[in-house]
Symmetry: D3
Subunit: 139 residues, 6 copies
Amino acid sequence: MAGETIRICRRETFNAAHRLYRKDWSDEKNYEVFGKCSYPNYHGHNYVIEVWLEGPIDPITGYLMDLKLLKGIIQKEVCDRFDHKNFNLDCAEFKDRIPTAENIAVVSWNLIKPELPENIALEVVIQETEKNKVAYRGN
Amino acid sequence: MAGETIRICRRETFNAAHRLYRKDWSDEKNYEVFGKCSYPNYHGHNYVIEVWLEGPIDPITGYLMDLKLLKGIIQKEVCDRFDHKNFNLDCAEFKDRIPTAENIAVVSWNLIKPELPENIALEVVIQETEKNKVAYRGN
Amino acid sequence: MAGETIRICRRETFNAAHRLYRKDWSDEKNYEVFGKCSYPNYHGHNYVIEVWLEGPIDPITGYLMDLKLLKGIIQKEVCDRFDHKNFNLDCAEFKDRIPTAENIAVVSWNLIKPELPENIALEVVIQETEKNKVAYRGN
Amino acid sequence: MAGETIRICRRETFNAAHRLYRKDWSDEKNYEVFGKCSYPNYHGHNYVIEVWLEGPIDPITGYLMDLKLLKGIIQKEVCDRFDHKNFNLDCAEFKDRIPTAENIAVVSWNLIKPELPENIALEVVIQETEKNKVAYRGN
Amino acid sequence: MAGETIRICRRETFNAAHRLYRKDWSDEKNYEVFGKCSYPNYHGHNYVIEVWLEGPIDPITGYLMDLKLLKGIIQKEVCDRFDHKNFNLDCAEFKDRIPTAENIAVVSWNLIKPELPENIALEVVIQETEKNKVAYRGN
Amino acid sequence: MAGETIRICRRETFNAAHRLYRKDWSDEKNYEVFGKCSYPNYHGHNYVIEVWLEGPIDPITGYLMDLKLLKGIIQKEVCDRFDHKNFNLDCAEFKDRIPTAENIAVVSWNLIKPELPENIALEVVIQETEKNKVAYRGN
């Protein structure tokens, strides 16, 4: 017998560098669209990732999912991969994607989803600064 | 004439002790599943409860609901009941439920819902630490 | 080809004064309903506005929308209009609306929505104090 | 025997309206010096007050001072006096003082100090917005 | 040649249960002094510890002290010792000390100080709730 | 006549990339000392700068210093200089200094101090992550 449907959230952090630009655009065009985010030598952020799961409470444990397991998945799939890295230079996932917060959320979702049981829905929130964040629920 | 449908949120806090374990399991099994949360002498948290209501704005007052009333309901049904208490030893609501954040959210929802007008939807968010929280909307 | 559907959030702040009361009620009746918020000489808040947009990622830029543009819209439509103002005395939008957080959210939504592309959904969150906030998605 | 010298801090909040201006200056001069803070119809803030005490731990209780007592003093001397008030119109303490954060800190210190035992040093911190605060230790 | 004198701060967290009471007092007397904190079955908190060091910058590394080392000291001396524990029942350090925030700060200071180089001054800040914290600099 | 001595604080933010390493050390030695902070392609942070001034309240304005002026100084001397930059590659101030938080605080202090009146004392706090910050008061 499945328990109540609930959502849980786990928050982790990582620090990384990035630059927003298209190789097929001039520096002027990149600056026009991406502003200071297109500066050539990179800048960086303290990224916060919030991982939200939705599914039934396990009546045996009272958990939707053991947070130690969820923490391990986030650590392995996101933090170990991106922490203290340069998204543009170090991360194959962004070879053909500009490392905007939007794309970091989508990529993180794609990395975490296969690690979860099928009946659990996933939303990933990426906070890039105190003033902006994005949320992705899959398509 | 009912006003716009809106959501409002009230935040309160309380402090409590708990232990996560099943009486029908050995200490080893409990530690295997619940880790440090199964330590025998309890630990505790500063719990944050966010109560979200959804319903129409009252055109007379511009309120969905007077927050003083909502605060009073949260105080009476949740804070007075659980603040400075031990969920396992003091709270009848958890006699047959492990006091995980998930179950605290469900129990709080069940306590608050009957105090609200019928046309108001309820979601309860329980934050247990800076890194984890749960949200419950009823079933 | 449109990219993944995503939500993005931009956070801004402004400071304003207000008083909650109805001109057609006595001071006693106003105090009974609105409590200290009805005091005659106004009080004020540091308001936080979170503007959430939902729509597709632009595959060219990796953005749902350039945050500089969104910031400009919020600045022009909300912050420039309400910052360091008295909602009751200075703001035509509240001539016939009590400036509750609920109504500030609705008015802000109505001001921002026409500035956005049609395919982008909007939610406005207004935080009035550490303990209360409201969210409005349109009707 | 007195215990270790320690500092403790209690945090409370209140909401108020104010306007920064000098009656002996023109509107233009006031705007030049105080900017938007001089707008005639007031604006407001969610003020945070942090009260820091320094003194010895009482070996009997393990407290520097019972926080319930300290909370009561802050409540009576500061919050009850200023909450939901207009500093300029309602508060005699600011009849001859411009209600800047600096002066609010000094006035609050002057109100709280006489309520404390003589051997306890006092510092008052007033946070006016997320971006500015002031701290006063007496003279 | 020593570099500039600077202060650095590292923040960690742990969760624990406690009860404030004196065994040589009646339950009534304990309730009179410690209020709800004297309830017999314990309650708990998410404790935040901020460890501040003051000393010279090492001109070779640009560090006052490697934060990995400092984190390790806090982990071993404070978090491993108190996390998910009951101060009253599990911790020898509080056998003859009431586990107030004041005493937790003093005990933590006493545990961390011997692990640091002699020329580094130490201050320990313990935050017990959103509303109260204490700071101890040694005597 | 000078008013009460007080401290005021202004908070600003900027985002930058950096790498901690010494050119005269091998990669192995750099990794041994600086860990992941020595990764070759940089990482980054959302830096928070808090600028604390200490001095007398101006009895005419009730200000220690107009925060618009202070904000302008921080903007010009720190944020415009470092925001969206790479400390190692773009900033002459760090040609012979490793861009640790300690050194960023010292450099920022050295940049801001000459812009202030002589009778005002200065402390600069740099927060690099949620878990670490440094404070520098000059020597």
